[in-house]
Symmetry: C2
Amino acid sequence: MSVRISPARPEDCATLMRLVLALAEYEQLSHLVVGSEEQLRRELFGVHPVIEAVLAWDDEVAVGFALYFHNYSTFLARRGLYLEDLFVVPEARGRGIGKALIRHCAQVACMRHCGRFEWAVLDWNEPAIAFYRSLGAELLPDWRICRVSGAALMRLAESDARAT
Amino acid sequence: MSVRISPARPEDCATLMRLVLALAEYEQLSHLVVGSEEQLRRELFGVHPVIEAVLAWDDEVAVGFALYFHNYSTFLARRGLYLEDLFVVPEARGRGIGKALIRHCAQVACMRHCGRFEWAVLDWNEPAIAFYRSLGAELLPDWRICRVSGAALMRLAESDARAT
């Protein structure tokens, strides 16, 4: 039976959280997961959702997911689609499920007239980069992400920055 | 008189669009600006806004802006704040207005319990990187952005990707 891609429903949140944990384990980043199923449910289905997710189902078993949100380009004055997470459980790989999830996101981006579809990749992950290039993606070579978090974010918010 | 930072109002859209065009001109990217004031107004003040903006006012003159939206971390299960654009008109630089705009965003991020505050920088823009580091930002060295747009995005959406 072929794999079916469908939008996450409220009753899928436990399954989705399980897949998020599997992704973290695969990336050896389990210690960084502090979110709960309840928080995930709120961001997906609360009053002002910021994220959307789709699941890949092999019969009754969830074998992968994609989680995305809208970003924005001021020059285009259009939204883009940003893929935050893509994961296929190891035992279901090699069957085109990752590509089917990415294609689904591209379809959403096209239907919504998004100017771009973007995601991040680690620069040493050559198999992933080759795969993404085969899908038509270009790698932006010279942009880097700046991040402020935790105590540094509080310090910045409380810093003296009166413009004169 | 000191500079005042305040959220963009619907009547500020023409001013904001003028600053977006000034930013594009400064970056020598004017040819990439295809958005209109009307599109900007829709994304800021329409039924489902995706962006927010603040303007820096020197008396009655708008001298800068910051435009941001929420992104999301699955591991944190929390929203982040993403700064898409920051601009201060050349004649108003050196007065701390850029820092005041960034600080305002950090305050919004803290008030909304965001896990992170992020933005992108060009890896060769050493003055900007030094400035951001002085604000407590870390540079993520190994993440790169993948982008699919235009005809490549249409091709990906229409590609054969049935998972088996």
